[in-house]
């Protein structure tokens, strides 16, 4: 390929803008200072429109998985019942976490690549009226699929059941309306649409969720959200040592996203996803989730008989272009192209171009250039 240049299209971690990398290179300050407090307050406030909430947002020095765990240990207790949607690796993770913490999980099984239907949740709630929470993904990264949180919110509403949403590949990617949809906990991580390195878990909590957490006696220490909220809201610092540089970066990245304006940020992700999907028919490939595709990551099924793992390695090692393969039953059968981080529509020409060269080198026959032409045609239509 005559190049050492690397391109990152994994669905997290994702590229970080140079301005943000430089901001994170600022000298470290102590976290019990007015200077840090001003940055923390600003970042927490600037996050709210991305969550669609006027309620509380808490930062954690953890990955997104840490924030998922916090939602369980703060909002549920051993012996509680909860419903969880399992439509992929991250839905499955909800189930594993519930079991570890002694919560009786009731699985709503969803075929990989399909969206959960509100009727499925309604039925699960009817069968398990004692469920204290419904847990699901807004966007299931492993299957590149969006679940209809708004419609499911309508089903859960009016009950004594919390709605806990893993929004790791939805917050900042597309419009989240936590308050309007009746979401009680909305979770994300820094390394996706927030255009930061990994290391920050972020959780938005409804007043109702805070009440539940306040009364909950289940054991937790590092992820004690009540203690954290008291520190962050009332004392303008964090309970434990925060990721100072990442919070510098977060404040800056949110400034960039708001300068771009959120409607434009969402349009950017949507256009990248639609342009990438446009390449599928042009290359004779199928989408893993044709009916409910995620705007943050696109999953293309690799051709029958072609080793998808080899394709992903070839793209990375020989072409310098990192995408991600499939997990579990999709291992070797899927290529996932991320649209999150410091990426814009033209970058999808590179992602799809590298995919084409990879497919060609592995013997798949098609008209080289058909994919990038389809990508450009979709970009040219705007949106």
């Amino acid at each position: 390929m005559a190049s050492n240049k690397k391109y990152l299209f994994t669905p997290g971690p994702a590229p970080v803008p140079p301005e943000v990398l430089l901001e994170m290179a600022r000298p470290i300050i102590h976290h019990r200072t007015p200077e840090f407090s001003a940055i923390l307050d600003s970042a927490r406030e600037r996050l709210k429109p991305l969550f669609g909430t006027r309620q509380e947002i808490i930062l954690l020095a953890s990955s997104g998985t840490g924030a998922m765990e916090a939602s369980i240990t703060n909002l549920l207790a051993p012996g509680d019942h909860a419903i969880f949607v399992n439509g992929g690796k991250f839905g499955e993770r909800w189930g594993k976490m519930l079991a570890i913490y002694g919560v009786v999980g009731h699985e709503v099984k969803v075929e990989w690549g399909q969206a959960a239907r509100p009727e499925q949740i309604e039925e699960a709630l009817r069968a398990n009226p004692q469920a204290r929470a419904v847990l699901m993904q807004a966007s299931e990264t492993s299957t590149c699929t969006v679940h209809p949180v708004d419609e499911i919110g309508r089903v859960v509403r009016g009950r004594d059941t919390l709605l806990i949403i893993d929004g790791i590949t939805s917050v900042g990617v597309f419009d989240q309306k936590m308050d309007e949809w009746g979401v009680d906990a909305l979770i994300t991580g820094s390394q996706k649409a927030l255009m930061l390195p990994p290391g920050l878990g972020i959780i938005g909590l409804s007043t109702r969720a805070l009440d539940v957490a306040q009364k909950n006696r289940a054991p937790r220490f590092y992820f004690d959200l009540i203690r954290e909220l008291k520190a962050q809201r009332d004392e303008h610092t964090t309970a434990w040592t925060p990721s100072v540089s990442l919070i510098f970066g977060l404040n800056r990245t949110l400034e960039l996203l708001h300068a771009e304006t959120l409607p434009q940020v969402f349009a950017r992700h949507r256009l990248m996803a639609e342009a990438t999907r446009a390449a599928a028919p042009a290359l004779g490939l199928k989408l893993i989730s044709p009916e409910s595709p995620a705007p943050g990551v696109t999953g293309l099924l690799t051709p029958e008989g072609l080793d998808g793992g080899k394709l992903v390695r070839l793209m990375r090692d020989e072409l310098g272009v990192s995408v991600q393969g499939g997990q579990d039953q999709m291992k070797g059968k899927l290529v996932r192209i991320g649209h999150m981080g410091f990426l814009a529509p033209f970058d999808m020409l590179t992602a799809v171009g590298a995919l084409e060269i990879g497919l060609d080198r592995l013997g798949y026959r098609f008209a080289i250039g058909a994919g990038v032409a389809a990508v450009l045609q979709r970009i040219a239509q705007g949106g």
Copy 2:
């Protein structure tokens, strides 16, 4: 375009790798220290293979134009005669500089987009046997054209005439053989293939050129190359205050280029240029220099009746993609796409993709996607 992301494809300044930006963010050190000397020595040594020389290389705190001026004020004196090739804006600049310094310039006029022919130089030398120097560009950036320095070197050789080459868009772009071709001064700037911000002028000098400079009494102070060489070679520092951060960056960028290996670096530029040129017939566009195209920058003539200036502004302001238009008689009629700096073949998909969208928006009719498909087809062939 739903994006604030910017892409830089001007034929200098060109994108700088993040590693190099970080290197330049190192704390400033003083330039009369062993630490600075080690970096200066290393950078000067690492430059030599890019110039194709085992002779001396001198760094100047100036743009490339400063280094061009230095070659005149050090190697020529008022009343001297010199031959210069004028095949574009930079050839014309040689003429202007010679006149300012009282050198009698004999112009070899070359049509824009054409390469100088060795016979033209031979004829000029015959007509002006008193000429002390032949000055030309290795690659004329304004017309995206390569001149055959190797063949012209054979014509000049054996005479008492220096060969002074502006290599600003050739050093690091394609193989330069200063010693083998008999070049006496080879000049470049930091902001092209060296992948640095602007601010460093660099000049390689033959032993013969140094002898001439040594004896030359023409006035010069800041650009006194003998004084500079004494400082850089013998005292391991610079005569005047150097661009310390740029020299940090230069040493790092040369490390990256040598790690990539020079044959690969040259192949990368060649492939970018060939892939970009492949888009021309696909889009019904003509090249400004079809017979001797430069590997560092490609010039595409805009369609009859379409305002090329408007096209360049639209690409920059609406699509975030910076390319450069034409100058003088090519104003409004040319789009120049640079291949220098931290760029690789896949990036040409973005440059050509943006060109296609710009052309489409200005009413030029063609099959959108044809250009990027042609680019990818060329990339897929490798090289």
